[in-house]
């Protein structure tokens, strides 16, 4: 199978979704402000009428995208840094998320919001957020967290086909990762977790960039004879809990890794569900590796201290194996 860089797979998906006349891209930082951003210009040049640059009015243009979706388009909106979605919060969580339900199933809002979440390196408190857990508390939103070149392509294709408002949560530190991506059409349905690595001793459930960190950790621990199973939910809404639970049943030990803050984060909800539905399968307490409940600091050593890094994941795995 051919190998692509993550940013190449994402660009391929962006290019392919434009074949659908209903797709309009709003905003231009799908490839972030990374050196790869210039590649996006090819799409702008090919579809000038369907790639628009709105003013710095997140509330206004996110609402516009939702209204356009209600009226039949498939807008894909780039909010760039994840925390910018807070500027559009009333439209995303109170209009888009509720529309289908409170209209009694009449009005669909098939819009995609693309955000770059997480600790990216000196983003400080306002540019390092992971809003996915807050968004998960808003029924009606689908939430997607790709972690590999194959997933970013297949999930983006799937997001555009979704009839629901979808939050596409990406991480800029994934962009240079390389991996296999099948040729041709690739659509990965929502609600299908993937076991990214098999193992019998401990389950690590991770999302987004933390999947890659967990895979590195699994490689390191394999040399010591510890077999780590890495499971990636890929979408949390909808959530394929059955695959997660099956892995926990197999290993009896689980570490959950994500970049949300610890309280009420993605890891918190997954831990609660495992405790509720899989308590009798557990041989050790569940451990979470997350950002602590503090804003993300600027200073590099402080930032690293609060990041779910490989040494912290290893420490957590060792603690559940004791």
């Amino acid at each position: 199978m051919r190998e692509l860089a993550y940013y190449e797979a994402k660009l391929e998906a962006l290019s392919e979704i434009m074949a659908d006349e209903r797709v309009h891209l709003m905003g231009g930082s799908f490839l972030s402000l990374s050196p790869r951003r210039t590649l996006f210009q090819k799409i702008v040049q090919r579809y000038p009428e369907r790639v628009v640059s709105p003013p710095i009015s997140e509330l206004g243009f996110c609402g516009l995208a939702i209204g356009a979706a209600m009226a039949g388009l498939r807008p894909v909106v780039d909010l760039s840094t994840g925390s910018f979605i807070y500027e559009a919060w009333p439209q995303v969580v109170n209009e888009a998320a509720n529309a289908f339900y409170m209209s009694g199933g009449q009005t669909r809002a098939p819009v995609v919001f693309h955000i770059l979440h997480g600790i990216r390196g000196q983003g400080a408190a306002q540019h390092s957020h992971s809003p996915q857990a807050m968004l998960w508390n808003c029924p009606g939103l689908e939430i997607v967290l790709p972690s590999s070149p194959k997933d970013v392509k297949g999930l983006l294709k799937s997001a555009v086909e979704s009839p629901n408002p979808t939050i596409f949560v990406d991480h800029v530190q994934l962009f240079e990762i390389r991996g296999p991506v099948p040729e041709g059409d690739l659509v990965i349905p929502f609600g299908q977790a993937e076991v990214k690595r098999q193992g019998k001793d401990v389950t690590v459930i991770a999302t987004s960039l933390e999947v890659q960190r967990s895979l590195n950790v699994a490689d390191q621990l394999a040399r010591e004879g510890i077999q780590v199973e890495v499971v990636d939910p890929r979408t949390v809404a909808p959530l394929d809990f059955a695959t997660l639970l099956a892995s926990v049943e197999k290993t009896g030990r689980v570490v959950i890794v994500d970049q949300c803050h610890k309280s009420c984060g993605i890891a918190a909800e997954l831990a609660a569900r495992i405790a509720e539905e899989g308590f009798d399968k557990l041989k050790a307490p569940i451990r979470r590796v997350t950002a602590p409940d503090v804003p993300i600091p600027f200073s590099p050593p402080l930032e690293e201290f609060v990041t779910p890094t490989e040494p912290r994941i290893i420490e957590a795995i060792r603690s559940v194996l004791r």
């Binding site: 309009h24 009428e49 369907r50 628009v52 709105p54 003013p55 009015s57 509330l59 206004g60 243009f61 996110c62 609402g63 516009l64 995208a65 939702i66 209204g67 356009a68 979706a69 209600m70 009226a71 039949g72 388009l73 807008p75 009333p90 439209q91 109170n94 209009e95 509720n98 529309a99 289908f100 339900y101 409170m102 209209s103 009694g104 199933g105 009449q106 009005t107 669909r108 098939p110 029924p139 009606g140 689908e142 086909e161 979704s162 009839p163 629901n164 909808p238």
Partner: protein, 331 residues
Amino acid sequence: MDLCRRMLLIRHFEESLIGLHDQGRFEGHYHVYIGQEATAVPALSCLGQKDFLFTTHRNHGHLLARGADPGKLFAEILGRKDGYNHGKGGTFHVAAAELGFLHTSGIVAGIIPLAVGAAYAAKARKSDQITVCLIGDGALEEGAAPESFNIASLWKLPVLFLCENNGKYGAGRAAGAAQSATMAVYPLTDLPVAYKIPARQIDGTDAGAVHAAFSEAVAKIRQGEGAQFIETQTVRWPGSETNWPAVPAPTDVSLAWDVSAVPERAREWYRSSDPVLIFIRELVEKGAATKTEIAEIDKSARQAIEQAARFALASPFPGLDEALKDVFAPR
């Protein structure tokens, strides 16, 4: 005559609704359209079948003006199975896609960006559909309003903002030059004009003026001139002076000529500011209808509302499984 019937239908609907609330048939806060009937009815009659509409918490009159079934509307507000949204939207969120009402928000400026978006979609498809954004004066106080005006103007989108200012002679106005204690911009049309959106102010109790202004604005938008803004002014109905609406006197067409049945404190509004009675007097004075004909129309509107209320009251509450349905649309 059809306009007259629709205005009376709205009036009797809302008065009947207040009665249902007083009887405890539904709970919670709600907003009625009494006093603004001569805005929605002629304004929305200028639209085509395929146009989009977005409205707010004060939506009942807009839906009825567009031909909504009053039985399904009552049923929605009473939380019943046969409501437009199976009872899951309620008074704040009545949506009726078949009439063009895609989404109704209880957040005062919530629909402004959405309406601009529907207009964007129509323009992208090169259709001649326009979108009407029905807001109150309070909506201009939220940030969504200026952000959306800016985009609608920059991108020349086919959207008509109808701002119904039902606070004419409000406290702030009386005290000074401001619209109210909460809005520095006065007149309100200065706000869209700052974003280069043509705007005008008209008397919302004058059905003829409303119709003329809307016909013109709709034509300009369909010709590709971009967004337009119209502020209609009405005098606040005395029944809304309390925290909860209370009918000072049930509307009877005879009030058009004799308001002695109305309590003293509310009499002046019915004499000079009630748009339905003004319209009826005009019809009779112009010789377009006789008092007998008007009385007949009123009777049939009243009967239609009574029947609609009976329909809604007979409709069951939704099954409890409905609470868990329609969170996500199926693929």
